[in-house]
Structure formats: structure tokens, C-alpha cells
């Protein structure tokens, strides 16, 4: 039985990446994810890997692109303002069909905002962020354990579908220390020799590019192929978690740290005899619309709780339509949602 150890969230992401076989990490300092860069700077030399502190977020995502094209697992991490800068590179990764893992430990925004945890980048992560018709797989961990587990998963998903997988955590998760059982390597092997750019020994020269100027080159076809990939991801990779939903009259919907707080609210409500439950999307894209409909479609009330002004709530409304009353409770400015307030709201539906 593997031993549980105490680990900080940001460090757990770093170790999980190494477990997943990621030996190339490029990043630029920004709070609240700095421990991850420090961890990789110390850890990667042990495995013969490369840690490089880039001159900017823009440079670091492009270094990831170069490494990924060479056929290895590569990762970068940042927090909200830095993730904005990476959007250009993320769009190019999508256009080039290159896998990569990007970690966003969200902080308060817009602008420089503040350095505490927040969930204000949901739209940016799930609806695009960069230019063009593309998607990222977005994974939302709600504990240090899940940060580690989902990081390992993110590399397999990125390689399976040749696309960007994003870990959408937040500053609180990155900074908190919890006991964690480090995941085992999944052992999945991905043969990248049919497309990686390594020099043309023994074959025709080839290139990776997102530019498709002439109709014969077919930008339309390339983008439609991407959509086919996204359909496959949607059919196969949706993940979510439920807590006391079987008999729930009121279902809370929350992701990440907000879901953690909602769990405490569910416990408090149950102790008071209120049948509350929690639905927690783990993949934010693809969003678990069908599972949510099955879980909460017939409940009396749904309350969406987010650490933002109301972003995921739009996907919840789209999934449930107007059959179920949907309320929203959120806090902005990197303030934490409060158990008491959630309890109060739910009780008001009685």
C-alpha cells in the first residue's frame, strides 16, 4: 500500500508530472504557483530533464510547443494574468495538433487583480481564450490528491487526442498542504514517430504548421477534423462526482475549491434534516451536461456556487433548461464562498 505523505498542492502537481514522464517544464514566475517552478527546478535534474525559466509566459508556452513537436511530454504553469499571455501559444498548439499540459492556478482578476485563489477564468479555459475554433480539455481538481491524480490523467488525455489539457486549479489549492498518495504511472505508451519533428533520417522531410493558405490545403478540413476529435473527447472523457445526490431535493453545483466548501454545506444541511446534495464537474470541458440533467433534472432546486460572478452557471442553465429553478451564489475578488451563506440560501427554498 503506497504511503500517504504531506504535500503542498503546487508540489504535488510537479511530482505527478514527473511520475507521468514529463521531463520538460518551461515557466515564468507568478504568484500563487511559484512553488511548482521551484519544485521542478530541483526535481527535473534528478531525472535528466530540463527546467527552464523563460523570459515570459509567451516564450514558455512556445518552448512547450517546440518540445512537444519533438515528441516529448512538456508542461507549463502559471496563474491567471500569465495564462492570458499563453493564449496565443495555446491556439497554435491547437492548430498544430500538439499535446501539452498547461496548469492554471487561478487568482483574482481582471487585470493584476490579487494573488488569492479565484475561479474567474472558467470562461477563458472552457470557451476558448485564444483565437479560432478550438477546445482544451479542462480538468478541475478539488483537493491536493486530485491535483496529483488529474495531472497524470492530463498527460494521457493530451497525448491520446493530441490537444492541450489544462489543470484549472486555484491559488488556495496550490498553496494548501494535504495528505496525498502519489499516483502510479499509468504505463500507457504513445507512439509519436508518425508526426513528431525529429529530423528526416530514413523518411521524407515533413513539417508541423497551422498555416493553411490555399483552399487545397484545406483549413476547413483541418478545423472539421479538430471538431471530430472534440466530439470523441465529449463522448468518452466526461468526468464528474456526486455527493448525496440520490435523494436530494436541492442540488448544489460547484467545481474545484468551491465544491469542497459546498460539501461542508451539504453536511451541515443534512445535519439539519435538509436533503441537499452536490454535483461536481471534474471535466469543465467537456461539461457533464447529460450527467447533470440525470442528477438534478428533477430536483426541486439547483444552486450553483462559484468563486466568480457566475460563469459555469451558464453551462448549468444550458444543461437543465428552464424546468428546474437555478439560483446562483458567488463571490468575486478572490473571496471564499461561505458555508453559512450556502446553508441559508438552500433553506430559503423550503
Amino acid at each position: 500500500m503506497p504511503e500517504a505523505i504531506l504535500m503542498k498542492g503546487n508540489d504535488a502537481v510537479g511530482e505527478a508530472a514527473v511520475i507521468a514522464g514529463c521531463h520538460y517544464y518551461f515557466a515564468y514566475p507568478i504568484t500563487p504557483q511559484n512553488e511548482l517552478a521551484a519544485y521542478m527546478a530541483k526535481r527535473l535534474p534528478d531525472v535528466g530533464g530540463t527546467f527552464l525559466q523563460a523570459e515570459s509566459e509567451i516564450a514558455s508556452i512556445n518552448m512547450v510547443l517546440g518540445a512537444s513537436a519533438a515528441g516529448v511530454r512538456a508542461m507549463t504553469s502559471s496563474s491567471s494574468p500569465g495564462i492570458s499571455l499563453k493564449q496565443e501559444g495555446i491556439s497554435y498548439l491547437a492548430g498544430c495538433k500538439l499535446p501539452a499540459v498547461v496548469v492554471n492556478m487561478m487568482r483574482g482578476g481582471p487585470g493584476l487583480g490579487n494573488i488569492a485563489g479565484a475561479q474567474g477564468d472558467y470562461f477563458q479555459a472552457t470557451k476558448g481564450g485564444g483565437h479560432g475554433d478550438y477546445r482544451n480539455i479542462v480538468l478541475a481538481p478539488s483537493s491536493v490528491q486530485e491535483l496529483a491524480d488529474l495531472t497524470v490523467l492530463a498527460f494521457d488525455l493530451a497525448d491520446t487526442y493530441r490537444m492541450v489539457a489544462m489543470i484549472l486549479g486555484d491559488g488556495y489549492l496550490g498553496q494548501m498542504s494535504e495528505s496525498v498518495v502519489l499516483p502510479e504511472p499509468t504505463g500507457k505508451r504513445f507512439d509519436k514517430s508518425s508526426w513528431s519533428i525529429t529530423g528526416c533520417a530514413g523518411r521524407e522531410a515533413r513539417y508541423i504548421a497551422s498555416l493553411r493558405l490555399s483552399p487545397e490545403d484545406g483549413l476547413e478540413k483541418i478545423v472539421l477534423d479538430l471538431q471530430d476529435t472534440y466530439d470523441k473527447v465529449t463522448a468518452r472523457e466526461i468526468r464528474c462526482d456526486t455527493y448525496h445526490c440520490d435523494d436530494a431535493e436541492v442540488v448544489l453545483v460547484a467545481f474545484g475549491l468551491a465544491a469542497r466548501i459546498c460539501k461542508a454545506a451539504v453536511n451541515a444541511l443534512r445535519a439539519q434534516g435538509v436533503r441537499a446534495g452536490l454535483f461536481r464537474p471534474i471535466t469543465l470541458w467537456p461539461f457533464p451536461s447529460q450527467a447533470l440533467l440525470e442528477t438534478a433534472g428533477k430536483t426541486r432546486h439547483v444552486l450553483v456556487v462559484e468563486m466568480n460572478a457566475g460563469q459555469m452557471v451558464e453551462d448549468v442553465r444550458q444543461a437543465l433548461g428552464d424546468r428546474t429553478p437555478i439560483d446562483f451564489y458567488g463571490r468575486v475578488g478572490a473571496m471564499l464562498v461561505e458555508v453559512e451563506r450556502i446553508v441559508e440560501k438552500v433553506k430559503s427554498y423550503a
Partner: protein, 244 residues
């Protein structure tokens, strides 16, 4: 009959999209020849910029990787850090290298990345139709400096070689031109040196080419070549700035 000249194996046999008198075709050929002569075709990767030469992977007969505008040195860094025994070449124009990609250029050079950067300076944005570049000369008319570049408003043209020569890490920095046969042969030697340095594991090399853009300069090819020699070279002196 004796074959005295043939297309280099470093180039693909395809028609060019470059304008008559453009310097890119000359520099592509020099690069292709050096790649063949050094016997590195199967282990070379050319990183394409954004600009007229974005399609360089259609011409150079090696593996290629496209980058976003200005990011080629960062992409090349990622490639080379993984593929340490491959030859990675970053081919960039003046807008790409000295405007939008200034940070990536300086920091890749400063880290001494083991790459070779080929910088084509034609003092104008070609692909977008002739806008002012960071290297557009004072007084030079472009679409976005219709009365001539005014240094009081738009700053002075940037001398990339001189700027990079302030850094410790680069092992080779040279400015060449492709306006005359003599200069073109010298440019080929510089490319050869820049790539040989990488083969030898020496570090970062940078070669700038003063090059013609007859279409956007509104000149004949012949006049454009003369302008490189007489006007551009007066502001951008040819020569070596570093050779270790």
C-alpha cells in the same frame, strides 16, 4: 556532358512564391547548399517565422516547424533542449525578430541556446504589404511611414548585430548582404560558420543578411540591390561582430 551545377539536395524541387529580385530565394539556396555540404540534412530542423518566409518549409528539404510571430527562438529552444544532437535553425525576418520577437531573440541569445539564427533584414514588412519595420531606415517611405520614417516619432532603426554583441553568450555574430556575388559568397561562408558552430556544440550563432524587397520598396530588382549596397550598408555596416 559534364554536370557542373545542379539543384542542391537541401532544397525541394518546387516553384518559388517569392517576388522577382527578393533576397529570400538567394538565402534559401545558400542555406540548402550549406545543409547539403555539411551532410546534416537528415538531422536538421528549420523553424519558420511569420512573414514572407513562413513557407520556408516548402523549400528547405529538412523537417520544419512553424512558429507564431516572433516566437521562433522560443520554439527553437524547446526543440533543441529535447533534441540536443539535432541542428536547429531559426529563420526570421526583421518584423519578426526585432519587433514582436525582441524578447525571445535577446533571451535565446543570452542563454546561449545551441541554435543558429538567420535574420533577413529587408527594412520592411513584406508579407503584409510594405509597412515600417524596426529596421526601416530614417526617411524611408513605407505604407505606415508615408512621409518617410521620422526618428522623432518612430525611433531609429535598430542594429541587431551590435545589440546582440553586448551579450556574453553568443559565439558568432556577423552581418552580410546578398546584393552582389561577392557579398553573397561571403554570406554563405557565414551561414556555414553559424551552423558548423552548432555541429561542434559551441553555442549560439547569429547571421544578419541585408536583403532586397523590390516589390515593397517600389524598385526594380537591380535598383533594389544597389540600394542595399549604397544605402542600407551605410547604416548597417557589414562585418563580423563576434567569432569565438
Amino acid at each position: 556532358m559534364k554536370l557542373v551545377y545542379d539543384r542542391t539536395l537541401g532544397l525541394k524541387d518546387v516553384p518559388t512564391h517569392y517576388c522577382p529580385g527578393c533576397g529570400h530565394g538567394i538565402i534559401h539556396k545558400l542555406l540548402g547548399q550549406v545543409i547539403e555540404e555539411l551532410g546534416i540534412r537528415e538531422r536538421t530542423i528549420v523553424v519558420a517565422p511569420v512573414g514572407c518566409s513562413v513557407l520556408i518549409y516548402n523549400y528547405i528539404n529538412t523537417d520544419g516547424l512553424e512558429s507564431a510571430h516572433g516566437r521562433a527562438p522560443a520554439v527553437a529552444t524547446g526543440l533543441k533542449r529535447v533534441l540536443k544532437d539535432r541542428i536547429v535553425i531559426s529563420y526570421q525576418g526583421d518584423g519578426d525578430l526585432m519587433a514582436i520577437g525582441t524578447a525571445e531573440t535577446i533571451h535565446a541569445a543570452n542563454r546561449g541556446e545551441h541554435i543558429s539564427v538567420l535574420f533577413v533584414n529587408n527594412a520592411i514588412y513584406g508579407m503584409t504589404g510594405g509597412q515600417m519595420a524596426p529596421t526601416t531606415l530614417a526617411g524611408q517611405k513605407t505604407k505606415t511611414s508615408p512621409f518617410g520614417r521620422d526618428p522623432a516619432e518612430a525611433g531609429f532603426p535598430i542594429r541587431a548585430c551590435e545589440m546582440l554583441a553586448t551579450l556574453e553568450a553568443p559565439v558568432f555574430i556577423e552581418r552580410c548582404a546578398v546584393d552582389t556575388v561577392r557579398n553573397t559568397l561571403r554570406a554563405k561562408k557565414a551561414i556555414r560558420k553559424a551552423i558548423q558552430n552548432q555541429v561542434d556544440g559551441k553555442g549560439y550563432s547569429f547571421v544578419e543578411f541585408l536583403s532586397m524587397c523590390p516589390t515593397n520598396w517600389g524598385m526594380s530588382p537591380r535598383k533594389a540591390a544597389e540600394w542595399v549596397g549604397e544605402t542600407m550598408a551605410a547604416y548597417y555596416p557589414l562585418g563580423n561582430f563576434r567569432d569565438r
